[in-house]
Symmetry: C2
DNA sequence: TTGTATGCGTTATCAA
DNA sequence: TTGATAACGCATACAA
C-alpha cells in the first residue's frame, strides 16, 4: 500500500517520468493524445497529481505564508483587532491564491519557536512586535513583516505600524487638556508571573518591563506617549492577566471601587477599555460623566460604546503586510500609517 | 548568495553531512565537543537549522493540518460558530505542537481546489459537508474529517456531526406544538446566481437545490427535519445572500413588512435568526410576543437575545476533528454528537 | 563515534 | 515530441 508516484504511472505506460510530469504541468509539451492517456491511466491507478512537498522542494517555494501570534490561537480568533487584521491579510492572500498558516510563538515558551523553524512557508507576518519568532524566521532567510511596534534593539525586519508614541501622546494630551491629573493606566501582563490585579506606581511597572523584557514591549512607545502627553499627572498602573474585555472589567472594578478613584482611565487597547466601561455600567456610573475612559484601536464595538480612542488602520496593516510578503520587490518596506484621535462621549472635562 | 546547506557546513568543517545533521537532530550521536563545533560553525555561516521542506519530503510528514472552509476566509474568522469551532480545533493542534493551515475551497470555483492539491499537510478537516475539496484530499491519500452534514452520495470520509434531521425535527415540532401553522424559513443562498430576497414556496427552493446541488447541501437534513416537524404547516422560504446577521436582518425586514405576516420564523442558523430579531427590534416588535423566532447552533449571542435554538457542541466538534486527524488509530471515525433543544423567550404559543 | 550510499517525488536542462 | 540525468536538502540504514 505504498504511495503511487509519477514513476509508477510512467512504468505502467512505458513512458518516461517527464512525460507524466508534463502531462500534469505543461500540456503543450506532449501530444494531447498521449496526455489524455497519461491522465487517464494516472486516475485509474489512483495517482491524483504531483506531490505537494516534493514540488515545494524542487521549486523552493510553497506559496504559503505564516502568520505568527504572540498569544494562544484562541486569542487570535477572538480579539476583534486581531480578527480584523487577519481578515484583511487573508483576503489579499486568497486573491493571490496563496495559503496561510497560523502559528503561535509565545515568547514565554522557547520551544514554540520550533514551529517557526519547521514551517514550510515563503514568508512570515506577525501581528506582534519584532520578537524572537521574527528573528528566527529571518535567520532562515525568510522575509518578515511585523505589524505591532516594540522594535528590539537589533531590529531589522520590515514592518507596517503606526506612530505609537505620537498616538499615545495625543490620547494623553487630550486627557490633560480636559483637566485630568489623576489617571490609571490599564495594561496587560508583560512577563510571566507578573503580579496582576493590583494598582502600582508607574515606576514599578516600568521597572518590571526593564528587568524582564529588556525594556521592550509592543506597547512601549504607546505607554511612553501617553505618559508624556499627560504631563505632570499622577499615573498608576493596573496590570491584567490578558488583553480581553473580561480582564478589563475586573481591572475596572478594582479602580472604580477604590476610595480614591481617579478622574480618568486609559487602557492600552479598546477591549480593555470596553471592559472598564462594563464595570462602570454595572455600578451605574456613566463614562464621560462620572469618570473618563479612553482606549486604543477603535474596534467596531468602540463606536456604539462611545469610546474615545485612537483609530488605527488595522485592515491596511493586514493588507499591506500581505502585499509586502507577496512582492519581494515592493520598494518601501518600513511603513508608518496614519492614526487619528477619535473623541467620543467617554471622555469629558474633569468636573 | 545561494542558500547554505548542511553540505556547506560539513565541507568547511571537514566532516560528513550526517554529522551536521546529527548535530541538530540527534545530539547523542556525536561527541558533545564536535556537536558544539558544528553548531557554532553553522551559526557563524548563517545556517539556521535543517530546511523544513526537505525534512518534510524525507519524512513524509509535515505536522501541519489544513482546515477547509466553503466560504471566504473573512467568513471563517467572523462567523461565531466558525470561530468557536476553529478555536477548539486550534487548541488541540497547539497542544500537540502541530500547525494549522487555513484554506478556502468554494464549490463555486473549481480552481480553488488547486489549493487542496498544493497544500503540504498531513490531513484535512472541513467545517463543511463532504464536498469536492474533501474528496480531493482523500484522493491524495490524506485523512479527512468533516463537521457539517450534507453527505454526498459517495460519501466516505470521517465525520463529526450531530443528527441534523432530528434536531430540525425538534425545532419544527416545538413550533407546531405552539400552534404555528404559517412559517417562513430563512436560508442562505445555495447556488451562485440564485434569486435572493424574495419569499418563495418551499417547493421552489427545494427544486433549486435539486437542480443545482444534486439535492445535497450541508443543511439538507436540517431543513427536512424542520419541515417534517412542522407537519401540515404552510412553509415558505426567504433566501439570503450569505449566512450573516446583516443578511438575516434584511430577510427579517422582508418577512415582517408583509401584510400576511407569518406567526413564526425559523432560520437555519443563529446568526440569521439574530438578524431577524434585529429587524423586529427596529419595528418595535417583541420576539415571542408579536412573532416567534427560532435559530440553530446556540452561539453565545443567542443567550442574551433569548433565542430559542438547537444547541450543538461546536467546541466538541472542533476538538474531536483535531483528535481524529492527529491519531490515525482512533477507533470510531464517524461520530454523531448529541444536540439539545433550548427553549427561550423568542418562541411562544400562537395568539 | 563518524562516514557512505541511497532515496524521498519532483522538475529543469539538455540531448535525442 | 519524448527521454535520460541531475539536483533540490535531508535523514535512514548500514558500514567502518
Amino acid at each position: 500500500m505504498t504511495r503511487i508516484t509519477q514513476r509508477d504511472v510512467a512504468k505502467v505506460l512505458g513512458v518516461s517520468v517527464m512525460t507524466v510530469s508534463n502531462a500534469f504541468n505543461r500540456p503543450d509539451q506532449l501530444s494531447s493524445e498521449l496526455r489524455g492517456r497519461v491522465l487517464d491511466r494516472a486516475k485509474k491507478m489512483g495517482y491524483s497529481g504531483p506531490d505537494a512537498i516534493a514540488r515545494h522542494l524542487r521549486s523552493g517555494k510553497t506559496n504559503t505564508y505564516a502568520v505568527v501570534f504572540e498569544e494562544n490561537l484562541s486569542y487570535a480568533f477572538s480579539d476583534p483587532f486581531s480578527v480584523a487584521w487577519l481578515t484583511a491579510f487573508a483576503e489579499v492572500m486568497q486573491q493571490h491564491r496563496a495559503s496561510i498558516m497560523i502559528l503561535s510563538a509565545r515568547a514565554a515558551e522557547p520551544e514554540s519557536l520550533a514551529a517557526i523553524q519547521d514551517a514550510a512557508v515563503d514568508g512570515v507576518a506577525g501581528l506582534c512586535g519584532d520578537q524572537p519568532a521574527m528573528a528566527r524566521a529571518r535567520a532562515r532567510g525568510l522575509p518578515t513583516v511585523y505589524c505591532s511596534m516594540g522594535e528590539t534593539p537589533d531590529m531589522s525586519g520590515d514592518y507596517v505600524v503606526i506612530d505609537d508614541y505620537a498616538a499615545g501622546h495625543e490620547i494623553g494630551s487630550h486627557l490633560r487638556r480636559l483637566g485630568h491629573r489623576h489617571i490609571v493606566l490599564i495594561h496587560e501582563a508583560v512577563y510571566p508571573g507578573q503580579s496582576v490585579w493590583t494598582e502600582q506606581p508607574l515606576e514599578v511597572f516600568a521597572r518590571g518591563l526593564e528587568n524582564y523584557r529588556d525594556g521592550f514591549y509592543p506597547t512601549l512607545h504607546r505607554i511612553r506617549g501617553i505618559v508624556d502627553g499627560l504631563g505632570d499627572a499622577k499615573v498608576s498602573v493596573v496590570v491584567t492577566e490578558v488583553n480581553s474585555r473580561v480582564a478589563g472589567h475586573t481591572a475596572g472594578a478594582l479602580v472604580l471601587d477604590r476610595k480614591d478613584r481617579p478622574t480618568a482611565v486609559v487602557a492600552v487597547s479598546d477591549v480593555l477599555a470596553l471592559g472598564v466601561m462594563d464595570a462602570c455600567a454595572q455600578r451605574g456610573l456613566v463614562p464621560g460623566v462620572d469618570i473618563s475612559v479612553a482606549g486604543f484601536d477603535d474596534v467596531p464595538e468602540a463606536v456604539t460604546a462611545g469610546l474615545t480612542t485612537i483609530r488605527q488602520p488595522v485592515r491596511d496593516k493586514g493588507r499591506i503586510a500581505a502585499e509586502l510578503l507577496l512582492d519581494p520587490e515592493r520598494p518601501e518596506r518600513r511603513i508608518t500609517l496614519p492614526h487619528e484621535l477619535i473623541v467620543r462621549s467617554s471622555t469629558r472635562p474633569v468636573a
